[in-house]
């Protein structure tokens, strides 16, 4: 079986640390010595060299995704430089999807044009909310009024796919606030929308604020209501779900890189803390940008640790991941002794069975983890 190969490039820089974020990212104050934005592209190039040694040049990347952090904190030229390294040393497949995440306030018409020219095909804007008081709780600094401009510039620059990211369930966000955000998002006429429920992750500033009682913890019923509102609004606007938290105008607008994760294809994660999965082996890099740079400067692999995915784990992962896709889960993946649960799940309205595939209903999507627990 041939798997697709993707590349993830982690850019661990942000102008401010958002209170809810537990991703591996650093403001300039937090970064410390030994890792600078200026030298970052050069450092990642060294890891690309390692990938070339491991992967050869027979199998080009079909998708590339720059995430973070805020990739657009780096000059467009640096992002293009890394992309060029990937293309020149490992290879890019014809028609490859090349995405970068971006903050609406960290792009200009010129930077977007430079990215497009340099080979980026897709851009995903971290919009999160259209409501100022919600953005404040999230510590997002951008002006929501600037978002339509950013989207327009991206279109003008020639990006094939424009996506927006939304977050629902922020403390203090009313149902009407969320409706406003949905209307705003739909009015941008994006090709793709991701909408994620806010998770209060341990160790974040937001978790501390919740613990101190300054803001309420997200409420599951509220999150469920908002998911249903989103699904209805997007479907009405012609965007269909293809993964639990992702909607696209048509099949071509689906984020192929995202789907690659859910299908357990192969990908190489570049950058500090990035996770990779190639041929049944998962590994992850050292977390701090300085440690990452030191390893590569010394000619060493930045790998921190790895695991081998055995058959049982693979089964569990496939049920966990593939059930989230609208294409569904191949029923033969479900372990024999759990297959009987499927009829019950269908009776309870949580799944549909199309031929040999199990697909979550809307209620089922909201209870996806419970469904998965019953299937493995």
């Amino acid at each position: 079986m041939t798997r697709s190969l993707g590349a993830y490039v982690h850019v661990p820089f942000c102008s401010v640390r958002c209170g809810y974020c537990d991703f591996n990212t650093y403001t300039s104050d937090e970064l410390g010595e030994g890792a600078t934005r200026a030298s970052y592209a050069v450092t990642v190039e060294r890891e690309v060299d390692l990938a070339r040694e491991a992967l050869g040049d027979e199998r080009p990347f079909e998708t590339v995704f720059f995430g973070g952090g805020t990739p657009t904190q780096l000059p467009a030229a640096d992002l293009v430089r890394v992309l060029r390294a990937l293309r020149d040393r490992v290879g890019l497949a014809p028609g490859a999807e090349v995405t970068t995440e971006a903050n609406p306030d960290s792009v200009t018409p010129a930077s977007l044009a430079a990215l497009r020219e340099g080979g980026f095909t897709r851009i995903s804007f971290g919009v999160q909310s259209a409501v100022p008081h919600v953005l404040r709780v999230l510590d997002r600094t951008h002006d929501p009024l600037r978002v339509p401009d950013a989207v327009r510039w991206a279109r003008e620059a020639g990006f094939e796919q424009v996506s927006v990211d939304l977050i629902y369930g922020t403390p203090g966000e009313s149902v009407d606030d969320w409706r406003r955000t949905l209307e705003h998002a739909v009015s941008l006429e994006p090709d793709h929308i991701s909408a994620y429920a806010l998770i209060v992750e341990q160790g974040t500033a937001l978790a501390r604020r919740v613990a101190r009682g300054e803001v309420p913890a997200p409420d599951d019923d509220d999150l469920a209501d908002k998911y249903v509102l989103a699904d209805e609004a997007f479907e009405a606007a012609g965007l269909s779900w293809y993964e639990l938290s992702n909607w696209a105008r048509d099949e071509a607008a689906q984020c192929r890189h995202n789907v690659l994760y859910w299908r357990s294809d192969d990908w190489w994660g570049f950058g500090p803390g990035a996770h990779s999965h190639v041929a049944g082996r998962r590994w992850w890099n050292v977390k701090h940008p300085a440690a990452y740079a030191q390893r590569l400067d010394a000619g060493l692999s930045p790998e921190k640790d790895h695991e081998l995915v055995d058959d049982d784990t693979r089964t569990l992962e496939r049920v966990l991941l593939e059930s989230r896709l609208r294409t569904g889960l191949d029923l033969t993946v479900v372990p024999d002794d759990h297959r009987e649960r499927v009829a019950d799940l269908r009776d309870r309205g949580l799944v549909d069975v199309h031929g040999e595939r199990l697909v979550l209903t809307r209620d089922g999507r909201l209870l996806a983890d419970a469904v998965v627990r019953e299937l493995v």
Binding site: D221, N258, H275, L316, L321, L366, L367, D369
Partner: protein
């Protein structure tokens, strides 16, 4: 300390079996948890040369892990220590000290009283920074009733917070005598311990018995050992126990071969006999401690004594709780585990029972709440069982209208049909020692638990002893916690069962989805039934996670619903986020979720977490104030 070590290994140390009672001193140490009994015992073992410093394991006498972790002594033991007098007229004379370790907790009062019977003297050990505690006081009274000579000792005098003058006065006030006679030691540094050993020899009377009478020995402890069977600890009162004898247990007339006699010093040492006043062990090949019960009298089968030593009784369980394996397949393992624990615990009683909600398990009788906790913890730890414990309850005696009498050890068996003429509940006499600042709050707490004030005695200007009659059922749940939290931890509690009283009690049932869940039934006073029902239903609503369907919770007395709550169906159970290709993290979350589910018990279709069954314990605040 070196000269003492060499002195104690001087020749002509009296040997077991041929020790003149005149050089024997049998004593125990009465102390509260944390007041340093084990440290003092260790220090004595070192000074007498029985254990050298390097070999000294912290808290040598406490064997079981749980004991060491909780810093409490469950099983008592006895150590024989040769000691050469190092002060006074008889300096240089060899003595033998038998230190008998006693359990410190209220649940084991009977065992304490038997250990005391084996001694002539007791060290009253009190933390010089804290003063005497209620349990210590209770044990002290037991010792005084048993006519033991009391040597008062303040420990931890090296602590910066120590107030030896103040507490010496307090102790002198309780036992009589002069505050200056209270010895001061630091078990930690060893200061004053040698003087204490000399004082034991000088003050504790030697044992008195008739060497020519038929043998009589008191069993004060009985321990199961995997390799040796039951090891029985005895104190010989009259005559002699020889390793060639056959012995007889006087309560049952059962006769056993004697396989071995000896003393502990600190490892078992065989000896040909044990004579008058001596303390040691015997091994008979018996496999269960029930066949060699604490308090029983051992005599020689060939030449039996006519009268047993007094005071033997079978300990009655005071507290009952249902223990159920979360996984029904573990029932057999639970049975085997209980059988094994019973080998070493004559007070543990159990019988199989079945619960509509929990399946098959056991109703287990305990001496008290600590006993319950220890057993439960040992079952989970040593036998790897996941257990649900139902809320503990006391034993009720019911007189029915038709003249029948029923004993209820499980609330779910409490009859609902109203044909009950009278209900009797066990009551206790509780003693609370507290700084005077908290008298008001303590009285308020005791009133809310249906207590009746018996009296108050000032131990000193700022410490008082308060006595209450309290229903045992009212102090089982969280009384001690409530007492501690209302007095910032300063008050201490002791209680002893004193009989029963008629009471207006009702059974409160809990229904999940309209079905009574027997494991949640509780018997409470009529006046607090409503508040109890509301509180427990509310508590369960918090503790039972939302299910994929709605779960109504009701509290009821008979057919009358007194409280209701509703657990709404869960609508969201999914993590929407993808952690940038970090699939391992997502998988681990799922595995954690599945692990959490394993700790749930299916009651009908409802998943109920383990803690919910014990939740009734912490609803004490529902009691009307």
């Amino acid at each position: 300390m070196g000269d003492i070590m060499s002195a104690s290994s001087a020749p002509q140390v009296p040997q077991p079996g041929s020790t003149d009672p005149a050089v024997l001193r049998n004593f125990c140490i009465i102390a509260h948890i944390d007041h340093g009994k084990s440290t003092l015992a260790d220090r004595m073992l070192q000074i007498t040369g029985v254990v050298d410093e390097r070999a000294a394991r912290a808290q040598y006498l406490d064997r079981m892990d749980i004991e060491r972790e909780r810093g409490i002594t469950i099983k008592s033991q006895a150590v024989r220590m040769p000691f050469t007098k190092s002060s006074g007229d008889d300096t240089g004379t060899n003595y033998v000290l038998n230190m008998i370790d006693t359990p410190g907790h209220v649940d084991f009062t009977y065992e304490v009283s038997r250990s005391l019977e084996a001694c002539e003297g007791a060290i009253l050990l009190v933390d010089a920074a804290q003063g005497i505690e209620a349990q210590t006081l209770a044990n002290l009274y037991l010792a005084m009733e048993a006519d033991l000579h009391i040597i008062p000792v303040l420990n931890k005098i090296d602590l910066p917070g120590a107030q030896p003058e103040k507490y010496a006065e307090e102790i002198a006030g309780i036992i009589g005598g002069d505050p200056d006679e209270v010895l001061r030691v630091s078990a930690k540094t060893g200061e004053g311990v040698e003087a204490l050993l000399n004082a034991i020899v000088e003050q504790v009377p030697p044992p008195v018995g008739d060497p020519d009478a038929p043998a009589r020995a008191l069993i004060f402890d009985s321990v199961y050992d995997t390799y040796r069977g039951v090891v029985t600890y005895v104190r010989v009162v009259d005559g002699k126990l020889s390793h060639r004898d056959k012995i007889k247990m006087m309560s049952t007339n059962a006769v056993h071969e004697m396989l071995e006699v000896g003393v502990i010093s600190p490892e078992p040492v065989k000896s040909p006999d044990l004579g008058v006043g001596e303390v040691g062990y015997l091994i008979t090949g018996v496999k269960e401690v029930r066949q060699s019960r604490v308090g029983d009298t051992v005599t020689s089968n060939a030449k039996p004594a006519k009268e047993p030593l007094g005071g033997y009784k079978t300990p009655n369980p005071m507290v009952f709780s249902g223990l159920y394996p979360i996984d029904g397949d573990d029932f057999a393992t639970l049975r085997e585990a209980l059988d094994k624990l019973q080998l070493n615990d004559a007070a543990l009683v159990y019988e199989p029972e079945s619960s509509g909600a929990l399946g098959f398990g056991f109703r287990i009788g305990f001496l008290g709440l600590l006993h319950l906790e220890i057993i439960r913890e040992r079952l989970e730890r040593e036998f790897n069982l996941d257990l649900i414990a139902t809320a503990p309850n006391v034993v009720y005696r019911l007189e029915m209208e038709d003249g029948r009498e029923i004993t209820v050890t499980n609330p779910s068996e409490y009859p609902n049909d109203g044909k009950i003429a009278k209900v009797f509940e066990p009551i206790t006499r509780a003693t609370i020692l507290t700084p005077t600042d908290y008298i008001g709050t303590i009285m308020e707490l005791c009133q809310s638990r249906r207590g009746q004030l018996l009296g108050m005695d000032y131990l000193s200007e700022d410490r008082v002893e308060i006595k209450y009659t309290l229903p045992m059922g009212e102090i089982m749940f969280d009384f001690f916690d409530a007492l501690k939290s209302r007095t910032k931890g300063y008050a201490s509690l002791d209680y002893e069962p004193t009989g029963e009283q008629a009471a207006d009690l009702v059974k409160v049932d809990i229904l999940l989805q309209g079905e009574v869940v027997d494991a949640f039934s509780a018997i409470v006073h009529r006046d607090s039934a409503y508040a109890y029902g509301v509180a427990l239903a509310g508590k369960l609503k918090e503790l039972i996670p939302r299910q994929q369907f709605e779960v109504p919770i009701q509290a009821a007395i008979g057919a009358r619903i007194i409280a209701r709550e509703n657990i709404k169906a869960i609508r969201k159970d999914v993590l929407a986020k993808c952690y940038g290709g970090d699939i391992s993290r997502k998988r681990k979350l799922l595995e954690k979720q599945k692990e959490g589910k394993k700790r749930m018990k299916m009651v009908g279709r409802v998943e109920v977490p383990q803690e919910a069954f014990i939740a009734a314990l912490s609803t004490g605040d529902a009691t009307p104030k």
